[in-house]
């Protein structure tokens, strides 16, 4: 599976294909994300990545559904656990490798790293760390499209249950509803914000209860169940595109990694690990594929190899590339050369 080929053919597949083909396509993106992130983790452990590595392990089913239904002309503002969705929306694998490895040829050119990457010109926004801040940015992009007379577009943005508690998220959600933009917000409750469990994050029964208070339509999903994720997120995207109010999808899942790879997550209780939402969505999906015989073991093996090959290619490309050098850097924070302040 060549990523580019996959990408160009994707849209027709995901929209028109029978459910099981879309299911399989989604699985392959999940597999690719998992494979990539495992590789990043091993590079990090080997001291080859500076800073941190943040993975979406266990959240691939939710994430892939976020990317899969978006088309060219849509906007996507992903967050830290969205490798699967980013790839499905069309982010080249090499962007990830270059950003993590600090290649000067990456979209961030070593200026920013890890998950802080994007291609705003292609509708994929580059998150800032401050949680909640990207929701209103997505709203603005959709307003712009409406101003420009574009049609049939939609925006999707992701957030964690922790990020939902920021003032910025609240203002973004509310303004989305006031502006009635075609936005889908996918809030993944992975039961921890870093080490903090739900009971110190919020006190409502279910975060989907927030939807009504904003004038959103609310939905919940089981984040371990790919079919459910595709069904509900796909539906939400369709509803937003069709002019319904903004959509809030709340997914339930357990983060199957540390907050970042520096974190051993020893605070995650054994009890919670036994919850149904703690299952590994990738394994669940694979089991479904095998049980329903949607693909044979040989095919699965091929897919796995293909994913590994793609990842290796991306990583080795980036590894060959030069790092940014301070004396080649122009140290200008603004685009207009004449207006750069000469301050030391």
């Amino acid at each position: 599976m060549l990523q580019t080929a996959q990408r160009s053919s994707k849209r027709s597949i995901s929209k028109k294909a029978p459910p099981h083909e879309r299911f399989l396509e989604a699985f392959r993106w999940m597999l690719l994300a998992r494979t990539l992130e495992e590789k990043l983790v091993s590079l990090y452990r080997g001291g080859l990545i500076t800073g941190g590595v943040y993975v979406g392990r266990g959240q691939e089913a939710v994430s892939v559904a976020c990317g899969l239904f978006l088309q060219k002309g849509d906007v996507f503002a992903p967050l830290i656990r969205d490798q699967a969705g980013r790839s499905a929306f069309g982010e080249p694998l090499v962007d990830v490798a270059r950003t993590y490895l600090g290649s000067r040829q990456g979209p961030m050119r070593g200026r920013d790293g890890n998950i802080h990457r994007g291609r705003p010109r292609d509708g994929q926004f580059a998150m800032i760390s401050h949680l909640g801040a990207m929701i209103s940015v997505a709203v603005g992009a959709l307003m712009a499209k409406r101003f420009k007379g574009e049609k049939n577009f939609v925006g999707l943005t992701c957030i964690g249950e922790g990020g939902m508690q920021t003032g910025s998220a609240h203002e973004g959600l509310n303004i989305a509803a006031v502006e009635q933009v075609p936005l889908v917000v996918v809030a993944t409750n992975n039961h921890y914000a870093y080490s903090t469990p739900n009971e110190r994050e919020f006190a409502c029964h279910d975060l989907v209860d927030r939807a009504k208070g904003y004038g959103f339509e609310g939905h919940t999903i089981d984040g371990t169940d790919l079919a459910n994720c595709l069904d509900v997120i796909g539906g939400a995207v369709q509803r937003a595109r069709a002019g319904r109010p903004p959509q809030l999808v709340v997914a339930s899942i357990l983060r199957l990694s540390g907050h970042g790879e520096h974190d051993d997550a020893s605070y995650v209780t054994e009890e919670i690990k036994r919850e149904p939402f703690a299952r590994d969505c990738l394994k669940c999906t694979e089991k479904t594929i095998v049980d329903l015989n949607l693909a044979g073991t040989e095919t699965l093996r091929e897919w796995r190899e293909d994913a590994a090959a793609q990842v290796d290619r991306a990583i080795s490309t980036a590894q060959k590339e030069a790092a940014p050098e301070a004396d080649e850097e122009d140290w200008r924070a603004i685009s207009m050369r004449d207006l750069v302040d000469q301050v030391e």
């Binding site: 906007v75 979209p107 961030m108 050119r109 200026r111 920013d112 802080h116 994007g118 291609r119 705003p120 010109r121 926004f125 580059a126 800032i128 760390s129 401050h130 801040a133 990207m134 929701i135 209103s136 940015v137 997505a138 709203v139 603005g140 992009a141 959709l142 307003m143 712009a144 499209k145 101003f147 420009k148 003032g167 910025s168 203002e171 973004g172 509310n174 303004i175 006031v178 502006e179 200008r332 924070a333 603004i334 685009s335 207009m336 004449d338 207006l339 750069v340 302040d341 000469q342 301050v343 030391e344």
Partner: protein, 322 residues
């Protein structure tokens, strides 16, 4: 025809809306029949339907929305109701708009209008001058127009600039300052203006206090002292060259600004002049800022909190006598 500073802001926005489809105005109470807490957008919602939009009380989201719209090709103007409330949008301004070009190579052409500065009786939360906060962080242009002409041309320029602009317009000048007509062209952004020529002392100022400085210069002229007054126009970029050239002529420097004293624009000017033009100075450079307390409500206190003709004149006299 006579036009106020405030009307010039309105006219600039009318022109921008008229000439450029990409422009829209976003802020609390800017729309409807109301036209803004200060009427800077009076009538514009009617003249440009759908392009002058009231927002919820959500400064963070107002700026976030503007950033997103700018990334999709628009040229939004965000009006803060008072500069002081931009504190709740500061994260979006500094960390999102301010970093975006550097991080992604894609600039964010937003203009954030801050009705700034003190007026009598406005108190701690409706009087602030925040230019020094914004100028401290990388990635932003910070304009501080002091004249009717500048507020007009610079606002038009602000929207034309591809990078985020924090536009500090001074509320005290809204009604007090008038011009005969609006110019078609102004000085380029980043170029300071010699507001008055002189040879004995350079006063560097910007925004409303410029006029206090000019009045002081006038007063000293009667005594035979010629004070040169430099209007910075924008505190970032800050036109060090013009300031240095002036100090080269006068040998003496007084900086006056209305923001809080610690580390503000006046400290920045002094640091630049002394490190780049130390030998030009014949006397210790001096500065006057607002006092290091919140801005008082009561007019008696307020008048003594900000730089005023008396405090400026006293410092100027000291400098001239040294």
């Amino acid at each position: 025809m006579s036009i106020t500073y405030l009307e010039a802001i309105r006219e600039a926005q009318a022109k921008l809306l008229r000439d450029d489809d990409r422009v829209f105005i976003y802020g609390q109470d800017v729309g409807g029949s109301f036209g803004g807490a200060f009427k800077a957008t009076k009538g514009l919602a009617k003249e440009f339907p759908g392009r002058v939009l009231n927002t919820p009380i959500s400064e963070d989201a107002m700026v976030g929305t503007a950033i997103g719209a700018a990334l999709e090709g628009m040229r939004p103007i965000v009006e803060m109701q008072f500069a002081d409330f931009s504190s709740t949008a500061l994260n979006q301004i500094l960390n999102n708009a301010g970093t975006h070009y550097w991080r992604t190579n894609v600039p964010v052409p937003i203009t954030v209008r801050l009705p700034s500065g003190g007026t009598k009786g406005s108190g701690p939360f409706h009087s602030q001058s925040m230019e020094s906060l914004y100028a401290h962080y990388p990635g932003l242009i910070v304009m501080t127009p002091a004249t009717v002409e500048d507020v007009y041309t610079m606002l038009i320029e602000a929207v034309a600039i591809d990078d985020p602009v924090v536009f500090c317009e001074h509320k005290y000048l809204y009604y007090h300052l008038k011009a005969d007509k609006l110019p078609t062209e102004g000085l380029p952004t980043g170029q300071a203006r010699i507001a008055r020529e002189g040879r004995d002392l350079t006063i560097v100022a910007y925004s409303a206090v410029l006029h206090e400085c000019l009045a002081v210069a006038e007063q000293f002229a009667r005594e035979g002292f010629e004070i040169e007054v430099v209007d910075l126009r924008s505190v970032k970029p800050l036109d060090t060259d013009t300031v240095l050239a002036s100090v080269a002529r006068t040998g003496r420097l007084l900086c006056v600004g209305e923001s809080f004293p610690w580390g503000g624009a006046t400290a920045e000017v002094i640091a630049r002049v002394t490190s780049e033009g130390f030998h030009l100075l014949d006397a210790a450079p001096q500065r006057i800022n607002a006092r290091d307390t919140p801005i008082p409500y009561h007019p008696n206190l307020w008048a003594a909190h900000r730089p005023n003709a008396k405090t400026i004149a006293a410092k100027a006299r000291n400098l001239l006598q040294e």
